[in-house]
Each structure stands twice: as structure tokens, then as C-alpha cells.
């Protein structure tokens, strides 16, 4: 009787305690530094998150990390990299920072530095770097990592967007020169479209929402932008004349092919079904490292690149630039050591290696001098376009202004339920409301 009671009590306790055991067992398992070796310092392990897990990207980032680990072995810093899918990165990182369990270094979109600094999600690394470090980078890009006078990251790669065109198709159609205006582009399309007897197309000239132009490059190409300023966005300008004209021009292409045919092309993605490689489209707006994709999957293709012609309201050429920076998330316990890795990543060796293998434009100027890059015919066009390329920072009070814009473009292009003016007016109101809400609440 008594024994039974005791047994049941013990069982109950064991069940109860096992819960705690399960929660705490994994903590503090860091192996103690082996005492035999005369290591001068304890090795600090930097946790590094990146999204470069593809077949194309992975070997390069792995090689760069290996090199860092070899160089910093004696200095007591090692890096452990974790691949986080791009789509999960933002949520996972925010959750980790909130939980006080952030990684020490992370690759992040270049346009987000300002808003993340404003929201206390990044460590200030100003005191770990020297003032002259900014001379390493393109001048117009240094601003992307600075917020209110402090440095929150170091820049890594960037990109620009151009039109890739099929030279053979252009020659067959008797076009000798790439069009210089938006109207001319529509005009050459008459020669490039190939229609079968049953009305279906075997080749279409241009689908503006296919590839990587989106609305942004076309709007910037017409002197437009979502806000009044690229680096210090303040007043939303979504329904400006330049933006409306840009969307109207895009809608002309949709009308040219009809909604159904247009959608069936715009829905088909990249990869094995790449419409440019398979000759289904003659011109494709894409990001500059599409050069690497073509090099890999269509090495014999005869293609040319040209900047998007300037739109009717534009004073000069324009393209949207993206890219990535490397930063130390808030809450890292090794900010000094992590900054060493950040410096290495944005330094000459790592960026040159990346440029050579990935054909990306690097923000570190020295990297773009890589000789093997200069052999690529398209490379000079890419570098020439860099001064017209703009990175648009996110508005601190409207981080999702891009979402409102995206909906507007989709309503016009894919759904065909609104005119460009209507859609952009609506998006403008949405963004104004977002800013107002956030400003009021923060007061």
C-alpha cells in the first residue's frame, strides 16, 4: 500500500521533472577549450546567416568562409555559416532578435538598413571601423549603410537592370540598332513578334513583368520613384506623372498581346522554362547577373545588352539597383569579432572572388577590376549603367510601400481591373495612410 503510494509519487515527479529536463538539457554545451594547446585566446565562433544556398551561389560563399577560417584561426575567430531560405530570412531574423538569440552576422537587403537601424534591429559598428574604409566603395553606395551618421553595415554586392536581347532575332528582323525610345521599342516589336496561323505566338517581343524589371526599373527609367528621395524617402509619390506614364507603357504591352496571352507568358518563370533562352521572347528585362545564368545554360547564345531606353519624362537613363549588405544583428555577443568578418566579406579578396565567380557588380571598387570579367562583352555596359542605378531605401514609416505598389501593378497588368492612374492613386492613398498611422502611433 505504502510502497504503491511512493511509486506513484515518484512517477509523478519524474514526469514533471522530465519536462524541465527537456527544456534545459541543450544549454551550455559549448565544449571547453582544450587545455593541452597553448591557444592565446579562446576561439570565438561567429554565427553567420546567408541565403545563398543555390547550386550557383553555394560554392563561392563556402570558399570565402573557408578562407576566412584559415586566415583567422590564429586570431581566434571562426565562422559557422547557416543557410536560411531568402523567403524565411526576414521573419526568422526578427524572431531571433526579439528572442535575444540573434546570429552574429547576416546578409540583408541593401534597402532595409535605414529602417532596421531605426527599429533597433542592427548593431552600430562605427567604432570598430576606420573612417577611410568608405574609400573602398562606390561613393553613391556608402549612404546605404549609414543611418543618422552611424555605420550599421558594410556593403557587399549590387546589381543593375538592363534589357537582354536576342541578336539573331534582331538581325533576322533587319533591326541594326537597339531602340532609343519607348515608342521605338513598341515599333520594333512589330518586326519581332512571330504569330502562327492559328493566332498563337511562337515569339513575343517583350513582356515587361517577366524577368526582373518589375515596375521599379521602368518607373525609374522615366524619372519616377515611389518616394521623393531614394536615400531619405519622405513624401510618397506613387501616382506621379512619371510613374503613371511608366505603368501606362507597361499596359500597352499587355494590350498588344491581350490579357490571356500576356498572363500565360508572365506566369512562366525562370529555370528550365526560361523564355529568353528558349527563344519565346526576344527582349527580356533582367538583372545583370543573368549574364552568369546565360553563360551556364546557354553558352552559345548570341545576345546583346542595352539599358532600358529613357522614358518620355526622363532626363537621363535609370534603373533600379538592389543588392546586399552584411550587418551585425542587434543582440550579438561578439560585435567586435563579427565586425572583423563583416570587413573581410566586404574586403577586396572576398568581393573579387565573388565577382569572378558570380558575375555580380560589387560595391567594393577593386573587385570589378577582375580581368576575367572584362572579357565578357556585356560587362562594360553593366558598369556604364551603374551611375544611373538607384537603390531606393524603404520608408521607415511605410516599410511595405512596395506591397501597395505591387498590388497596383498586379491590378493593372495581371488582373486588368484598374487603369494605371486609378491603381496608383489608390496605392498612394494606402501608403499615405500607412505613414500617418505609424507616425501617430509613435508620437
Amino acid at each position: 500500500m505504502k510502497a504503491k503510494k511512493i511509486i506513484s509519487l515518484i512517477t509523478a515527479l519524474v514526469i514533471a521533472l522530465s519536462v524541465f529536463a527537456g527544456c534545459t538539457a541543450k544549454k551550455d554545451e559549448t565544449p571547453a577549450a582544450s587545455e593541452g594547446t597553448p591557444a592565446p585566446k579562446k576561439t570565438v565562433t561567429i554565427q553567420f546567416w546567408h541565403h545563398w544556398g543555390s547550386e550557383q551561389r553555394k560554392p563561392t560563399i563556402t570558399a570565402i568562409i573557408d578562407e576566412f577560417n584559415a586566415r583567422y584561426k590564429d586570431k581566434g575567430i571562426q565562422v559557422e555559416a547557416t543557410f536560411v531560405p531568402f523567403g524565411d530570412m526576414s521573419t526568422k531574423l526578427t524572431a531571433a532578435i526579439t528572442a535575444g538569440d540573434a546570429p552574429d552576422a547576416v546578409i540583408q537587403p541593401i534597402e532595409a538598413v535605414g529602417i532596421k537601424a531605426a527599429r533597433n534591429q542592427v548593431e552600430d559598428i562605427t567604432k570598430y571601423i576606420t573612417d577611410d574604409i568608405k574609400n573602398l566603395y562606390y561613393e553613391n553606395y556608402w549612404d546605404t549603410v549609414v543611418y543618422e551618421g552611424k555605420v550599421y553595415a558594410l556593403p557587399f554586392n549590387t546589381d543593375t537592370r538592363l534589357v537582354f536581347y536576342n541578336k539573331k532575332m534582331f538581325a533576322d528582323a533587319g533591326i541594326n540598332e537597339f531602340p532609343k525610345t519607348w515608342d521605338e521599342m513598341l515599333a520594333v516589336a512589330d518586326k519581332l513578334d512571330k504569330k502562327a496561323a492559328d493566332g498563337s505566338y511562337s515569339t513575343v517581343a517583350f513582356i515587361p513583368t517577366l524577368g526582373n524589371f518589375g515596375f521599379d526599373t521602368i518607373a525609374i527609367g522615366n524619372g519616377g520613384n515611389l518616394f521623393d528621395d531614394f536615400m531619405n524617402p519622405n513624401v510618397p509619390m506613387l501616382n506621379s506623372k512619371q510613374n503613371v506614364e511608366a505603368l501606362e507603357w507597361m499596359a500597352k504591352w499587355r494590350d498588344r498581346y491581350g490579357q490571356n496571352i500576356y498572363n500565360s507568358y508572365a506566369d512562366l518563370g525562370s529555370g528550365a522554362n526560361d523564355l529568353f533562352i528558349t527563344g519565346k521572347v526576344a527582349m527580356l528585362g533582367n538583372v545583370c547577373n543573368y549574364i552568369a545564368t546565360l553563360n551556364k545554360y546557354a553558352p552559345d547564345m548570341d545576345y546583346g545588352v542595352a539599358p532600358l531606353p529613357a522614358g518620355p519624362s526622363a532626363k537621363e537613363l535609370g534603373a533600379a539597383g538592389g543588392g546586399f549588405i552584411i550587418e551585425v544583428p542587434k543582440g550579438s555577443k561578439h560585435v567586435a569579432e563579427a565586425t572583423e568578418f563583416v570587413k573581410f566579406m566586404s574586403g577586396e579578396w572576398a568581393t573579387s572572388r565573388w565577382a569572378k565567380e558570380q558575375r555580380d557588380v560589387m560595391i567594393n571598387k577593386a573587385a570589378n577590376e577582375e580581368p576575367s570579367l572584362k572579357e565578357i562583352p556585356a560587362w562594360q555596359s553593366v558598369l556604364d549603367l551603374m551611375i544611373y542605378t538607384h537603390v531606393a531605401r524603404r520608408h521607415p514609416y511605410a516599410p511595405d510601400a512596395g506591397g501597395a505598389k505591387g498590388k497596383a501593378v498586379e491590378d493593372v497588368m495581371a488582373a486588368g481591373v484598374k487603369t494605371p492612374k486609378e491603381a496608383l492613386d489608390f496605392a498612394q492613398k494606402e501608403v499615405e495612410q500607412m505613414i500617418k498611422d505609424n507616425e501617430e502611433a509613435k508620437k
Binding site: 514526469i15 526578427t94 506566369d267
Partner: protein, 305 residues
């Protein structure tokens, strides 16, 4: 010994303590992973909260905004209601029809049961990607079949009129879960009731409506409640297909997709928490209504429920 312990704790109290110790894994798990997050989310819904830098008490401002001037909230409610109104009855009917078919004594019925159940085992994301291929406007399975029949299929996920129906069709593919529940209930219906009904001259249809349906009504109630709850919380398929944006033209902006965007794209976690609590109340109301009316149509064998 015996006397001393009695003075310390009555045997009733000791039994209670032991009881709590036995259920402590659940209690601790529930409080840490369910109760605490729920309370924190309730608190957050009255704050302006951007997750990392600020959490400020703003009373009912979030709720007032939701109900007075949030056009997306209305869109999301309408979309979710549309999805629930069509997907729930269709899914229940289909599941019941399949269960009736698979309850017949046919050769190879086990294989059929496995085949029909299989889709509900597969992971949501992989299945969604598969369906994106099936619904592809050019070269997709469905539009190819429609093409053979001489119908020009729509660009399913680019056309705001067809995106929700496509999602409902996708949902119907996964009715295997409720089908299994119905199947189990059907096998519990006693033979002698059918025999008695047959002797009384009841037709096949009569037997279904007067014997089968009442006998499986508790399962029906369960499937309806969980079905409506699931439909109101539809998220992953729409999220993947619209790349998180709820497009085209807001046609797949379901309640939870909108909530996610508020929380993780606009970083308005407080507002998102308020949205979550509004959804919670909506689901509570629906469930309460169903429980109330269930008294009138659900039959529990053995009289009292």
C-alpha cells in the same frame, strides 16, 4: 507516521497534488506555449508594437482602425467568407460521398481507401507547388484537358475571378482526412437498424436520410466545426501562390494572409494581434452557434450526450 502525515496534509490534498503532478507536463506546456503567448498577444493588441523597438499602450486604437477604415480587412473577410461558404459544404459532401463508396464491400477497397486518403498526408507546400503546375495556364494539366474539350481555360492564378475557385478545387483534393472520420462513423452504424428499416419498406434513400445521417451526426458536427475553423484560417496555399501578397487584385487576400503581412511586412505586430483576436471572436461565435443548433440535429446514441 500515519498520524503525522495526516496532520500535515489531508489524504484528499495529497491525491490532488499527485493528480496535478501527473498532468504537469500538459499544464506546463499549455501555460508556456499557449496561455502565455495568448495573453501576450491580447496585451499587444492594445499596443503599437513593431517587435523590436517600441511597444506603446494605445487603448482601442487598433480595433477602431480595423472596424472603421481598413478596406483590406473587409476584403479579407469577404474572401475568407467566400472560401468558407463554398469549400466547407463541398468538402463535407464530397468526403461523405467518398466514405459511402468506400464503405461498400468491393474488391480492393483497402487500396482505394489508401489512394483517397493519401493526399491529406502530403505536406502543404509540396502539394501547392504541384497544383501550380496543374493550374499553369499554358501546358498545365487542367487547361490541357479543357483544351481537348474545346474550352479555353482561364489563367487560374492570374485571374481574380478564378483564383479562389482554383484554391477551393485544391482544397477538395485533400478531403481524405474527413473521409476517414466518416468512414469510421459509417462502420459503427449497427446493421440491425438497416435491417429493421428495410423490413419496414424504407428505400435506399430513405435509409440514408433516416438511419445513416442521424447515426453519423456527431461526426458530422465535428467535421463541420473543424472544417469551418480550418477554412476561416486558410493561409499556406494562398500565401505560396500569391507570393504572400494575396493577389491577383486582392482576390486571395484571406484573413490570415493579411494578418501575416501586417505583422511581418509592415511590422505592425500590435495591429496584427488585434486582427487575430477579432478572428478568434468570429470563430468562437460560429462555433457557439453550431453547438447551440447541434442540439436540434445531432443524435447521440444512448440518449444523453
Amino acid at each position: 507516521m500515519k498520524r503525522r502525515s495526516k496532520r500535515l496534509l489531508s489524504s484528499q490534498a495529497k491525491t490532488n497534488i499527485k493528480g496535478y503532478l501527473f498532468i504537469s507536463p500538459w499544464i506546463i506546456g499549455f501555460s508556456v506555449f499557449v496561455l502565455w503567448p495568448m495573453l501576450f498577444s491580447l496585451y499587444s493588441s492594445f499596443t503599437y508594437y513593431d517587435i523590436t523597438s517600441i511597444q506603446k499602450w494605445i487603448w482601442f486604437k487598433n480595433y477602431i482602425s480595423i472596424f472603421t477604415r481598413d478596406a483590406n480587412f473587409i476584403t479579407a473577410l469577404k474572401n475568407t467568407a467566400f472560401y468558407a461558404v463554398f469549400s466547407v459544404p463541398l468538402a463535407i459532401t464530397l468526403a461523405l460521398m467518398l466514405a459511402l463508396l468506400l464503405n461498400m464491400k468491393v474488391k480492393g477497397v483497402r487500396i482505394f481507401r489508401t489512394i483517397y486518403y493519401l493526399p491529406s498526408v502530403l505536406s502543404g507546400v509540396a502539394v501547392t507547388l504541384l497544383w501550380m503546375w496543374i493550374f499553369a495556364p499554358v501546358g498545365g494539366l487542367i487547361n490541357n484537358v479543357l483544351g481537348i474539350l474545346g474550352i479555353q481555360g482561364p489563367a487560374w492564378f492570374s485571374d481574380p475571378n478564378w483564383s479562389k475557385p482554383a484554391l477551393i478545387i485544391m482544397r477538395l483534393w485533400g478531403v481524405g482526412g474527413s473521409m476517414v472520420l466518416f468512414l469510421a462513423a459509417l462502420q459503427d452504424v449497427p446493421r440491425h437498424l438497416y435491417e429493421a428499416a428495410e423490413l419496414d419498406g424504407a428505400s435506399r434513400i430513405g435509409r440514408f436520410f433516416h438511419v445513416t445521417l442521424p447515426m453519423i451526426s456527431p461526426t458530422m458536427l465535428f467535421v463541420t466545426i473543424t472544417g469551418i475553423n480550418g477554412a476561416l484560417q486558410v493561409f499556406d496555399t494562398a500565401f505560396i501562390i500569391s507570393k504572400g501578397k494575396g493577389g491577383p487584385a486582392g482576390s486571395t487576400l484571406f484573413y490570415n494572409v493579411y494578418l501575416y503581412n501586417k505583422a511581418f511586412e509592415e511590422l505592425q505586430m500590435g495591429y496584427a494581434c488585434a486582427l487575430a483576436w477579432v478572428l478568434f471572436l468570429i470563430i468562437m461565435v460560429f462555433t457557439a452557434i453550431q453547438m447551440y443548433f447541434s442540439k436540434k440535429w445531432v443524435y447521440y446514441e444512448g440518449g444523453a450526450k
